[in-house]
């Protein structure tokens, strides 16, 4: 059996006309994923050279929801895009007598290999992360997904630069034009080109509808394959349980205290009842997780500014009862700490916080990644 060549593929659907139309939307989805991903990583920095805004409170909910939604939509788009250009995989290299052509071809195909590998990697690890499934053992999801996003978007730009004349030409011509087709791509497929492109967009739409309910409440009943129903104590799901964080004992101990530390000195030490005795405020704020799910909650508790007596223009370090983990202690930038909506919440939906939601108290601030809304808070530290 001989290895296939591009000429072995005879369907006229495998064409630049289809590839460019699907690729355009794939590029738009990748671009959205990239930009919203940058927003998310910036939001998670311990301090922000340019302050991250606290309003609108649902800003991060939208950007991170878009990140996951466009990522899911990219899966059918990428599969059909790759299907439409598969014959090129079997293209022979130019001969050694054309060294310049050979080098250029190797570079171009190398950039495609990088693009395909990083794209598949990003989509596969991204959807695995939404389900909190980590089948890899050594690399860090967060660091690697971030680094390879730059690789994927860079390789995508190189690919667009190389193909730009063809892309421009096929996008401005009729979809059935044959100018750029391979000579053997003449056999009618099961669908017309237009129908294949529409089917691909429909497939992307179906994948989004089936999963987006984790972040779009009115889609919950439609999103039968979403990672969450949206149910949970107080109508808010849980990312990390008290058991997983190993705080059950410390969080329910009568010895629990909230310490407010200013300039290295313990300024206040408050019991649960002390916190309850302070003026209580209620806010409606979302929890918006990096995994793309989100839920609105009605939180009540003490305003953070009220606890930070002599509050200065400084960041606040918020420390949890957790003994380990990268989010045991987080930095709350000054603009978040001073926002009147930022609470140390004691209640959710009119009930005391459940242990899994961060009892005795948790941080809740507007427009902030869920992973930084520290639970089981025991210490607030103003560095000033």
């Amino acid at each position: 059996m001989r290895a296939p060549t591009p000429d072995s593929f005879t369907s006229r659907l495998r064409s630049p006309a289809v590839a460019a139309r699907v690729g355009l939307w794939l590029g738009i989805c990748f671009g959205t994923c990239f930009l919203t991903g940058l927003v998310s990583h910036y939001a998670q920095l311990p301090s922000h050279p340019i302050p991250f805004p606290t309003s609108p409170s649902w800003g991060y909910r939208v950007t991170q929801g878009l990140h996951v939604v466009t990522g899911v939509a990219s899966i059918p788009l990428l599969l059909v895009k790759l299907w439409s250009v598969l014959p090129n995989l079997f293209q022979a290299l130019p001969s050694l007598r054309d060294p310049r052509g050979l080098v250029l071809t190797i570079l171009e195909r190398g950039s495609i290999a990088v693009l395909v590998a990083s794209s598949v990697f990003q989509l596969a690890t991204g959807v695995a992360n939404t389900a909190q499934w980590y089948p890899w053992t050594a690399f860090s999801f967060r660091t690697t997904h971030y680094a390879l996003a730059w690789v994927a978007i860079g390789a995508l730009l190189v690919h667009v630069a190389v193909k730009l004349p063809v892309i421009r030409d096929v996008l401005t011509s009729d979809i059935d034009a044959t100018t750029h087709d391979r000579p053997t791509a003449t056999v009618a497929g099961a669908l017309s080109r237009r129908a294949l492109v529409r089917t691909t967009f429909a497939a992307a739409g179906v994948a989004v509808l089936a999963t987006a309910g984790s972040t779009v409440p009115w889609l919950r009943r439609v999103s039968v394959l979403a990672v969450r129903t949206g149910e949970g104590p107080g109508g808010v799901p849980i990312n990390k349980s008290a058991k997983a964080a190993r705080v059950e004992e410390a969080a329910t101990s009568p010895d629990w205290r909230l310490e407010v530390v200013v300039a290295g000195e313990v300024a206040r030490s408050l019991s649960y009842d002390d916190l309850r005795a302070l003026p209580q405020h209620t806010v409606d704020l979302p929890i918006a997780c990096v995994e793309g799910w989100s839920a609105q909650g009605t939180w009540s508790g003490v305003r953070l500014v009220d606890l930070l007596t002599d509050a200065t223009d400084a960041d606040v370090r918020v420390t949890s009862l957790q003994q380990s983990g990268p989010y045991r202690s987080t930095s709350l930038p000054a603009n978040f700490a001073r926002d009147p909506r930022t609470l140390l919440a004691l209640d959710l939906a009119g009930e005391p916080l459940s242990l899994d939601h961060g009892y005795p108290c948790r941080l809740i601030a507007p427009d902030r990644p869920g992973v930084l809304q520290t639970k089981w808070v025991t210490r607030l530290e103003v560095s000033a």
Binding site: W133, V151, A152, A202, E231, A244
Partner: protein, 142 residues
Amino acid sequence: MRTRAALGALGGVLALYGAWLVLSRQDPGQWLEIALWLGAGVLAHDAVISGIVIGLGLLGTRVLPDPWRAPAAVALVVWGGLSIASIPVLTGLGVRPDNPTLLDRPYVATWWTISAIVVLTVVVAGLVRSRREHADDPRTEG
């Protein structure tokens, strides 16, 4: 040409920055695993998924009567895309006994239901299209 050169150069710089991030922030053991995953992703597509789709295409052209091909192709694209996007929830490997709010739907049963609906839709569409083609055929009377 200048636009293309600028775009290509920008892309090269961004990709190299990403590669530098991998090399500078992780250790060689992690590089190796990342490389394995990158390679496995390409193989999963270029060898496994493409192979299956080519096989299904050949089977379709040999087995399916003409009116059935379009519904089958549409079904394959929509169902295939959805199924691949759902692999993480279908494996159920992210389920944690201490967190009942995560992966709290009957995914596998739902997937079978969706698959059955897709097959039924193809059968109905195929039958309807066969009948219509038969009726439109000038050789048949009536």
